[in-house]
């Protein structure tokens, strides 16, 4: 564990960048330092590998005062990733990654072999090994930076805004990759960002800092969103923290119904039977159960109008379908995803699919709202028992598996994946 104990940093010009900061950084998890520009995040991070020496207080690594340790050995035991990767432009990609193993005295062959392993681990194609950094995109360079930091398998990884210089799509990919790598390696990661969304996405613990180097709040993301310590933190979190907090509630156990779902060749009887009273639409799927789109029941009915010679087809012409929007993966995506799907859906109903993209059911905004109330009441530790009439009843639902849907029709197998929130899935 890294323990930052009453640490202060006063620069030569008198600037107090970090003021009496105390922080326990747990092993094997991601701790994010977040806050506005100039609040002392980088200074704090760089005191951990002694790129900057504290002016007061001390930092302990597994109980040992860092100041007592030889600085090069200390740094070699901590991976370090910076904003623009900082690759060595005169070295090839493998040799960049092999830097620390080489410093530790590994022979060239073994160091390069290790470097190639890491390229694979961070999702870099092996054909890039012999390239030079200028021949890589920014996102690829950043992956090399991460691989280089991991090369000697250090227990600690320090990352200073590693993904802030790449575009949002690449950043998302890199974040997902980091979570995946972390799930395999379980490093102690200290991650600096000024982006609260990134902090919430990546952090197991989040330290919000405020200008002047003060700690404003130190909490897991869910707690940060539900109980910001003060107005500064609340403001920093932004206006939609309630919505964002839904990311931590699993959609496992959310009620979905498979009733209003038909294939494109459904006959009139099936259509009539499957139309819900509260939903004038049916979801049309292909033969594999993949969603095609929504259609009004009357549009779906096979046309019997013999006068129109061209119209001999029965069922819906897929061109007439309303788009089904992005479905959510039941049990894997969060309630936030489910709600987002419902809000964006032309019918107001979200489409739930399984991991293979097959439709398992649809669900309304009202049902999701019920689940949200239940989840809040249950502190997001389990899927809530749906009960639209008595949301408070969710308190008593500790033992309850998902209840059968209120509507008729085959209930989808509710994925009984572990209901442990928070969900920290790579998205």
């Amino acid at each position: 564990m890294i323990r930052i104990e009453s640490v202060t940093k006063r620069y030569a010009d008198g600037t107090v960048a970090v003021d009496d900061l105390t922080l326990d950084i747990p092993d094997g998890s991601i701790t994010v330092l977040v806050g506005p520009s100039g609040c002392g995040k980088t200074t704090t991070l760089r005191m951990i590998n002694r790129m900057i020496e504290p002016s007061g207080g001390r930092i302990l690594l597994d109980g040992q005062d860092l100041a007592q340790q030889p600085v090069t050995a200390l740094r070699r035991s901590m991976g370090y990733v910076i904003q623009n990767a900082g690759l060595f432009q005169h070295r090839t990609i493998v040799d960049n990654i092999a830097t620390v193993p080489r410093m530790l005295g590994w022979d060239r062959g073994r160091a390069r072999e290790r470097a190639r392993e890491l390229m694979d681990r961070v999702g870099l194609d092996a054909t890039l090994a012999k390239r030079y950094p200028y021949q890589l995109s920014g996102g690829q360079q950043q992956r090399v930076g991460v691989a280089r930091a991991l090369a000697a398998d250090p227990p600690v990884l320090l990352m200073d805004e590693p993904f802030s210089a790449v575009d949002p799509i690449v950043r998302k990919g890199l974040q997902a990759e980091l979570l995946r790598i972390q799930s395999e390696l379980g490093k102690t990661i200290v991650f600096v960002t000024h982006d609260i969304d990134e902090a919430i996405k990546l952090g197991n613990m989040i330290a919000v800092m405020r200008t002047g180097g003060h700690l404003a709040q130190y909490a897991p993301p869910d707690e940060l969103l539900s109980a910001p310590a003060d107005a500064f933190v609340e403001d920093f979190l932004g206006t939609d923290r309630g919505i964002r907090r839904l990311s931590f509630f699993t959609s496992a156990g959310l009620d979905v119904t498979a009733t209003p779902i038909v294939t494109a060749d459904a006959d009139a009887a099936q259509i009539a039977e499957r139309t819900l009273p509260e939903l004038p639409y049916l979801l049309v799927t292909d033969a594999d159960g993949k969603p095609l789109g929504w259609a009004k029941a009357e549009d779906l009915a096979p046309r019997t109008d013999a006068g129109d010679g061209a119209s001999t087809e029965d069922g819906a012409s897929t061109a007439d379908l309303l788009p089904h929007g992005r479905p959510f993966v039941l049990g894997q995506d969060s309630l936030r995803d489910a709600l987002d799907c419902a809000v964006l859906s032309p019918t107001g109903w979200a489409v739930a699919v399984d991991g293979t993209g097959k439709v398992v059911g649809v669900t309304s905004q009202e049902t999701i709202a019920t689940a949200i109330r239940g989840a809040h009441a249950g502190r997001a530790t389990k899927p809530a028992e749906p009960d639209a009439d008595a949301p408070d009843a969710a308190d008593t639902s500790a033992a309850g598996p998902a209840q059968a849907p209120a509507t008729d029709g085959p209930a989808p197998d509710a994925p009984d994946g572990d209901a442990d929130a928070p969900v920290k899935a790579a998205r």
Partner: protein, 223 residues
């Protein structure tokens, strides 16, 4: 008489191709003076430039020194050194040549190291590289094209200025120019000047080749 005629007279004269006053011998002398002067200047300028560039210390002193060195008249220095030191072999000629070459080497080396992107240097320190390793494994390889550029301009200046060695009865291509002026043999003057210019061009070629060999392809692009 035009220049081509001078050149023809000079280069077709069989006497200019052998013996102590032949072109091959003068070429060797010229290269020798230039190479020794450049080596001494590099031995002074490179380490100081690398050190000050790496530590960031002494920037002001360096630029003051460089300005001063540029203002030194090489020929005046040569005369002064000869008066002081007498005809002590090549030494009086070496001092102005070295003085001439140290400034561009020292200043460009310092600037080249200073101008290295700070991000990889920070990364290198952060991953536990020692300070000399940072200099030699991170900063120097990246700064190499600029440093070679400094060495090259020093070398060109030395090659052209080494002609003055002839003034104190030493050899090199300067012999043709000084003697030619004294005896009004203008074909020798022009021939000597062309040889000096040719050697300067060859120097550029040598540095280009060295650059191809020692600068990493990852650094070379775009320069």
């Amino acid at each position: 008489m035009n220049i081509l005629n001078f050149l023809n007279t000079f280069f077709s004269d069989g006497a200019n191709w052998h013996g102590a006053n032949g072109i091959p011998h003068r070429l060797l002398e010229h290269i020798q003076y230039s190479a020794v002067a450049l080596a001494i200047a590099a031995a002074i300028g490179l380490p100081i430039g690398l050190f000050t560039g790496h530590t960031g210390r002494g920037g002001y002193a360096l630029s003051a020194f460089a300005t001063g060195a540029r203002a030194l008249p090489s020929f005046g220095l040569l005369v002064l050194m000869t008066i002081w030191l007498g005809q002590l072999g090549t030494t009086p000629a070496m001092i102005p040549l070295v003085a001439l070459a140290v400034a561009p080497i020292l200043v460009t080396t310092h600037e080249a190291i200073r101008s290295v992107d700070p991000a990889p240097v920070d990364a290198a320190r952060g991953m536990g590289m020692t300070s000399p390793s940072v200099l030699f494994q991170v900063e120097l390889p990246v700064a190499l094209p600029l440093i070679l550029g400094g060495l090259r301009s020093a070398a060109i200046q030395v090659v052209s200025t080494a002609t003055i060695a002839a003034y104190i009865s030493l050899g090199g291509f300067g012999r043709y120019i000084i003697d030619g002026l004294a005896s009004h043999t203008y074909s020798d003057v022009v021939g000597g000047a062309v040889l000096v210019a040719g050697l300067a061009l060859a120097t550029i070629g040598v540095f280009w080749l060295v650059g191809r060999l020692v600068v990493s392809p990852g650094v070379r692009r775009g320069r």
